[in-house]
Amino acid sequence: MKRILLFIAITTVSLIGMLWLSTFGTVKYSMNEVLLMLLGSNSGSRSNIYMNLRLPRLIVGFLIGSGLAVGGNGLQLTLKNPLADPYIIGISAGASFGAVFSLFMKEVGKMTLSMDLLAFVFAVLSAFLTYAISRRGGRIPITTLVLSGVIVSSLFNAAVTLLVVFAWRNVITLHFWSLGSLSGVTWDDALKLIPAISLQYAIFSVIRRKMLIMAAGEDHAITVGINPERIKFIVFFTVSIVSAIAVSTAGLIGFVGLIIPHMVRLAFGTDNRLNLPATALLGGLFLIVCDTFARTLFQPTELPIGAVTALVGAPVFIYLLRSREVTGNG
């Protein structure tokens, strides 16, 4: 009961907070003005800026943040590894290779391939590659997983650099791709993200019990009749879809999937019905906060959002790596 109240409180505060954060930026709004615009009042160019740039940016930021956080949560449970996250295990790097590869094929090979599809294919490939490299006698030690993720990431990042040099494209585009940005996202991007993220959320809700049992150990899961390989496959597959669309929309954004599930576990516990909705909510809120910093800190210049999330996420990562939860497990 206490937790439900906490959840309701967090939801209310976040919704108001997100609207409040959306007032900051190059063009400043008052809370009143925002509410009036949301209710349909049109004040010319100012509301044009808000409705066509700021609001889609807010929503896309929320969707990507919650998608990555929920994905990280799923990976951490099924791999029984607190450091699993789409960025760290190389899924995002694979997706970014796929995205750049589609640009490359368009430019050099004169073939138009779907960016989202290619990003997805390589995201899945990198997920299973990391998995295959790090698996040791039926389990995945924490440090091995992180190291395999680093290897797979650098492999795909090197391949991206190679493509860029080969195609003679300018490196600055690549630089921005590799740190991510929510600048200039549109309503179309939001429409593309909604089905993928809802699908991931639905699948994880359905198989949540099985994932929790797997978190207690794969042997245990087999004795109660769960096929761990099938669950892992489903999780990798869905996380890859979401990461692929997130990367092709906003580039590489790390650490969201790592730190949010931990915070939620601390606040709500692992085995709780509120765990998943809270992860989605806080993940979205976290990315919106980071994006507000990216947008306002050095305005009118924009910071790459991946740099902001890494600045917050890396210390948390170090803390987790050294904390008892990990050392006891690895």
Binding site: G25, I49, R169, T173, S183, G184, Q299, P300, T301, E302
Partner: protein, 305 residues
């Protein structure tokens, strides 16, 4: 007195009518131009509020005398130092909110790595025109293109012709120096250490400037993206340039840029270093292909002869 006032009123009326006619004309006057991405852009009326989303383009507007129409430039634009205009931030990604809030009727933008931004501007309903010059000829042509856009085609032609004649006047002094007698020139751009050198080859405007100035660019047989390509220090030893040109990035940075090359041990036997012919050139001349190309050619030729 009354008569005088009445006369004044008539003059004002006449003037008003002319003004109205001019205004009406400029609204109806819609022209279509092909930009450097090959897009057909229709310019409705003469632009009054222009955002220059790349510092490479500003010089063109200043030379054409329309820089007063600029309402926003990037953070890297020297124009913002001596003029009060809004800053719009970085070249990539563009701060679309800021640009939209300036309410421009035209956004001028480079191609290349800014190409993706062109379509973002269009998506939010802004008129974007790409100016992406990479050579002497591109500068000449873009001066006329911009002259047309700003409704001063005659001025555009005049400025462009003056520009071309100015460059060719300098080039005439050295055009008949035979290849074997031309000093071998290398442009050395480094990102910190000399182990990572970028130089210019065929396709870059600096290579053209060296040729017009009477030098023989050792990078000319090669090429890369827009003519630029990375080389190792071995390339310098192998080609033995007589003159090395280095860019400097702030006033007073000349000495540092030159000694950076001179003190690099492996280069001590390169003719340019041995004979003290390492020269610094302001990066404002070598970073953008703009009408200051003429100053670039003049500076190089002064160093060579």
């Amino acid at each position: 007195m009354v008569k005088f006032l009445a006369k004044g009123a008539i003059i004002v009326k006449k003037y008003l009518l002319t003004l109205l006619v001019i205004l009406l004309f400029s609204i109806c006057l819609s022209i279509e131009m092909v930009d450097d991405l090959g897009r057909l852009v229709s310019i409705g009326g003469i632009p009054e509020r222009v955002v220059v989303a790349s510092p490479a383009i500003t010089e063109y507007l200043e030379l054409l005398g329309v820089s007063s129409r600029i309402v926003g430039v990037t953070d890297w634009d020297a124009f913002a130092i001596s003029n009060t205009v809004d800053k719009i931030g970085n070249l990539v990604p563009l701060n679309l909110e800021k640009i939209l809030s300036l309410d421009p009727d035209l956004v001028l933008i480079s191609g290349g790595f800014q190409e993706a931004e062109v379509y973002k501007l269009e998506n939010i309903g802004l008129k974007a025109f790409t100016i992406n010059p990479n050579s002497f000829e591109d500068i000449y042509r873009n001066l006329m293109v911009l002259g047309n856009i700003f409704g001063i085609p005659a001025k555009g032609r005049e400025v462009a012709t003056n520009f071309r004649d100015g460059v060719l006047d300098i080039a005439k002094n050295v055009y008949n120096v035979p290849q074997s007698e031309r000093p071998k020139v290398m442009f050395v751009m480094t990102a910190g250490s000399l182990s990572d050198i970028w130089t210019c080859g065929t396709g870059s405007f600096v290579n053209q400037a060296i040729a017009y100035a009477g030098g023989a660019n050792v990078g000319a047989p090669y090429s890369g993206n827009n003519g630029w390509f990375p080389v190792s220090p071995e390339f310098v030893l192998n080609t033995q340039p007589d003159v090395i040109l280095v860019p400097y990035y702030y006033e007073g940075g000349q000495e540092e840029a030159i000694s950076h090359v001179k003190t690099y041990k492996p280069f001590s036997d390169v003719p340019a270093v041995k004979n003290g012919r390492v020269y610094a050139i302001s990066d404002s001349l070598t970073s953008y292909a703009n009408p200051r190309f003429i100053d670039l050619v003049r500076t190089i030729t002064e160093h060579l002869y």
